[in-house]
C-alpha cells in the first residue's frame, strides 16, 4: 500500500564552509560569495522518503522548494535520487518571507498536491537555523508533528501509524503517531544515497537555470519567465491559491531591524614561548592570580 509523501527542501548558502574567498577585507563574510547547496538535513529527509518508497513501492515522493529560479537545482538533485514529482514555488511576492509567511506558502502548495500521508523536511536550514518552518507548516495544515527525527522504527500503511525516534537533550523518545503527520529529520540517520547514474542521464537537462546566482536573496522572478519544460513544475502565488497579504514581507510579522557582521577582533594577545620554561612561567602566573588552583 503506497503513501503520498511531500518532502520540503531548500537551497541554502553554504554557511558551514566559509573559506578565505568568502571573507571581505574587513573580516566579515561576503554572503553572496558562498556556494549554494542542498540544505544538508533536507537531503536526509528526502532519503527517509525514498526509503519508505523502497519499502512501499506504490509510494509517490513529491518534492517542493520555495525560492528563486536557481533553486531548481535542488529539485534536479531530488530527481536524480528518485523523486517522482518536483515543484518550484517562485514568485516575487514571496520575497522577504519570514518563517510564518514561508510556512503559509508551503502549506498552500501541499494542499495543491492533495491528500498527503506524510510531510518530511530537514529539522532546520543552515542559513537561518530556526527550525520553525516544519512545525509552522504542520500547524497550518492542521497536522500533527514529530520533530528531530533520527529514525523511523515502524510505518504501518494499513493501520496508518508511524513510530519515530526523536532526539531530545541527552537521549531520545520513541513517538507513535497517526498519519498524516509531519516529520522534521536530523542528520543523525538516513544517510543520503548518491544520485543514480541512470536518473542523472534522464533528468540532466530538466532545468536550464541551475547556476549559482549571486543575488540569491533578491532574484525572485515571474515563474512564467523561466519555464521552458514541464519536468519541474513552476508554481506562482496564484497557482497555489495563496493570499498575497499572508505572503512575503507583507505576511511576515518579524522584521530585521539591524544586521551586525561578526568581526574577528584581535585583542591584546600575549604569545607564550612553547618551551618548558615559557609554559612554567604562564602556569605560575595563572596560579598566582587564582585562575587555577
Amino acid at each position: 500500500m503506497g503513501l503520498n509523501i511531500v518532502v520540503l527542501v531548500k537551497q541554502v548558502p553554504d554557511t558551514k564552509n566559509v573559506t578565505g574567498k568568502a571573507m571581505k577585507d574587513d573580516g566579515t563574510v561576503n554572503r553572496a560569495a558562498l556556494p549554494a547547496i542542498f540544505n544538508p538535513e533536507d537531503l536526509h529527509a528526502l532519503e527517509a522518503a525514498l526509503r519508505i518508497k523502497d519499502a512501499h513501492p506504490d509510494t509517490r515522493v513529491n518534492v517542493i522548494t520555495m525560492g528563486p529560479p536557481a533553486a531548481a537545482q535542488v529539485l534536479k538533485e531530488s530527481l536524480f535520487r528518485g523523486a517522482d514529482f518536483v515543484a518550484l514555488i517562485t514568485d516575487r511576492k514571496f520575497a522577504g518571507a519570514d518563517t510564518l509567511a514561508t510556512s503559509y506558502a508551503l502549506s498552500c502548495a501541499i494542499r495543491k498536491i492533495g491528500a498527503v500521508d506524510l510531510v518530511l523536511c530537514g529539522r532546520q536550514a543552515i542559513d537561518g537555523d530556526t527550525a520553525q518552518v516544519g512545525p509552522q507548516t504542520a500547524e497550518k495544515l492542521g497536522m500533527n508533528q514529530i520533530t528531530c527525527v533520527s529514525d523511523i522504527a515502524e510505518l504501518d500503511a494499513k493501520k496508518r501509524t508511524i513510530s519515530a525516534r526523536r532526539s531530545i537533550e541527552g537521549g531520545f523518545e520513541l513517538v507513535k503517531a497517526k498519519l498524516p503527520v509531519l516529520l522534521t529529520v536530523t542528520d543523525e540517520g538516513f544517510e543520503p544515497r548518491p544520485p543514480s547514474a541512470r536518473r542523472v542521464m534522464m533528468y540532466k537537462n530538466a532545468v536550464a537555470s541551475a547556476s549559482n546566482d549571486a543575488s540569491y536573496d533578491e532574484c525572485y522572478m515571474n515563474a512564467s519567465a523561466c519555464a521552458d519544460d514541464d519536468i519541474i513544475a513552476l508554481w506562482d502565488i496564484a497557482s497555489i491559491k495563496a493570499d498575497p497579504e499572508a505572503c512575503g514581507l507583507a505576511g511576515s510579522p518579524t522584521k530585521v531591524k539591524k544586521i551586525d557582521s561578526v568581526v574577528l577582533t584581535a585583542q591584546d594577545i600575549r604569545m607564550v614561548d612553547a618551551s618548558e620554561s615559557g609554559i612554567a612561567a604562564l602556569v605560575h602566573e595563572l596560579i598566582a592570580d587564582h585562575t587555577i588552583g
Binding site: Q132, P135, A138, T265, M271, V283
Partner: protein, 336 residues
C-alpha cells in the same frame, strides 16, 4: 491582575524544571521591571502544585498552572492548544521559551496558530523603540540572535503583533538571586483536552543524567582536530583532570568520534563562560567561538599561527600539543 505582562513558558521534564526556564524567569523579571509590568509563568504538566509554588521565589507574580494527565509528558497538540488559550486569555506582550527540543517544537506551532512572530535561538533580549512606516513603536522587544552560521548577528523585531515571542538558548541569560517569600500567586486551571488532540503517544523516553557540566565549569580544557587522534585527545583529557577542569570539544572532534557530544562547545553545543578556557588544537571556527568567546581568559594552543582562535585568545602558544600539554601538566604539578 493587569494584562500585558512578560510570560515565560516554564518547561518541566518528569516534574523537574528545565535550567533554561529559570534563566528566562530571571531575564523576564528584568524586562518586566523596565516595562513596569508583571512576570507570569505558564507551567504545564501534572501533579506540579509544589513545583509551581517554588517558582514564585524567582520573583514571579503569577504562575498559571495548567494541570492534566494529558500534559504530564510533552506532546505538541495538547500543549499548543493549552498555551494558545492561555495567551488569548492573559494577553501577554512578550512570551519566552527555552530553545530546547521542546521549546523549538512548541513555540513555532503557537506562533503559527496566533499568526504572530517568533525569533529562534536568541542570545540577547533588550527593550527599545522601532520606527516603521512613520510610526514609532515604543518599548518593544529587540530579539537578538546569530544567523548565517554565526557570521552575522541580527536584531529582529515584531512591533505590529502581540505577543512578541522568542526562544532563547540555554546558558546565555544569567541567573539572579532568589527571593524566598516573594508575594506572587499560583492560579490553577484544569484545561479540557479533546481526544482529537491525543494523536501522539510516547512509547519510550530515555534521558541520561547529565554527566558533563560544561555550563557550570570554572575551567574548561577543550580539544579540536589538532589532537590528531583519539590518543591525542586523551592527552587533552589528562590536562583537564590535572587542572580539575571539565573537558570541552569542537564539533570536529565530536564528529571524529574522539569524545561524546555532551562535551561539545559552540553554536550547536553548549554556550560557556568559564574563568579559563584552554583551546587545544581548535582552529576557532565562528560556530565554536560563538559558544566560548565570553570566557574570562582564553589560552590557545595551536601549531598553526594563522588559526583564527588566536584572534580572540589572551594567551597564545604556537606549538605541538604533544609537547605543550605534557609541559603544562608538569609545570602545574611542580608548582601546585
Amino acid at each position: 491582575m493587569n494584562k500585558n505582562n512578560v510570560m515565560v513558558f516554564v518547561q518541566q521534564d518528569d516534574g523537574v524544571v528545565a535550567d533554561v526556564s529559570i534563566e528566562l524567569l530571571c531575564k523576564a523579571r528584568e524586562l518586566a521591571d523596565s516595562l513596569h509590568v508583571s512576570v507570569e509563568a505558564a507551567f504545564l504538566g501534572d501533579k506540579l502544585a509544589a513545583a509551581a509554588k517554588a517558582l514564585l521565589a524567582y520573583k514571579v507574580d503569577r504562575v498559571n498552572l495548567m494541570q492534566s494527565e494529558h500534559l504530564a509528558h510533552y506532546t505538541p497538540l495538547p500543549y499548543t492548544q493549552v498555551m494558545v488559550d492561555l495567551i488569548k486569555e492573559r494577553e501577554p506582550q512578550i512570551v519566552l521559551y527555552g530553545a530546547t527540543t521542546t521549546g523549538r517544537d512548541l513555540g513555532p506551532r503557537i506562533a503559527s496558530a496566533l499568526k504572530v512572530g517568533l525569533t529562534a535561538d536568541c542570545t540577547d533580549l533588550q527593550i527599545g523603540d522601532h520606527e516603521l512606516g512613520g510610526t514609532t513603536y515604543k518599548n518593544i522587544l529587540y530579539q537578538i540572535r546569530p544567523a548565517f552560521g554565526g557570521n552575522i548577528i541580527a536584531t529582529i523585531v515584531s512591533p505590529e503583533k502581540k505577543p512578541q515571542m522568542a526562544t532563547v538558548r540555554e546558558g546565555v541569560m544569567k541567573l539572579t538571586a532568589q527571593e524566598p517569600g516573594y508575594k506572587g500567586e499560583v492560579i490553577e486551571y484544569k484545561p479540557g483536552i479533546g481526544v482529537d488532540l491525543l494523536v501522539s503517544q510516547i512509547l519510550e523516553s530515555v534521558r541520561e543524567e547529565k554527566t558533563v557540566n560544561l555550563k557550570g565549569a570554572q575551567i574548561i580544557v577543550a580539544g579540536g582536530m589538532g589532537a590528531g587522534s583519539k590518543e591525542g585527545f586523551d592527552q587533552i583529557v589528562k590536562l583537564a583532570q590535572a587542572l580539575n577542569a571539565e573537558v570541552g570539544a569542537s564539533r570536529a572532534a565530536v564528529d571524529a568520534g574522539w569524545v561524546n557530544k555532551a562535551h561539545q562547545v559552540g553554536q550547536t553545543g553548549t554556550t560557556v563562560r568559564p574563568k579559563l578556557y584552554i583551546a587545544c588544537g581548535i582552529s576557532g571556527s565562528i560556530q565554536h567561538r560563538a559558544g566560548m568567546a565570553e570566557s574570562s581568559r582564553i589560552i590557545a594552543i595551536n601549531s598553526d599561527p594563522q588559526a583564527p582562535i588566536f584572534q580572540i585568545a589572551h594567551y597564545g602558544i604556537i606549538g605541538d600539543l604533544k609537547d605543550v600539554i605534557p609541559a603544562f601538566i608538569k609545570a602545574y604539578k611542580n608548582k601546585a
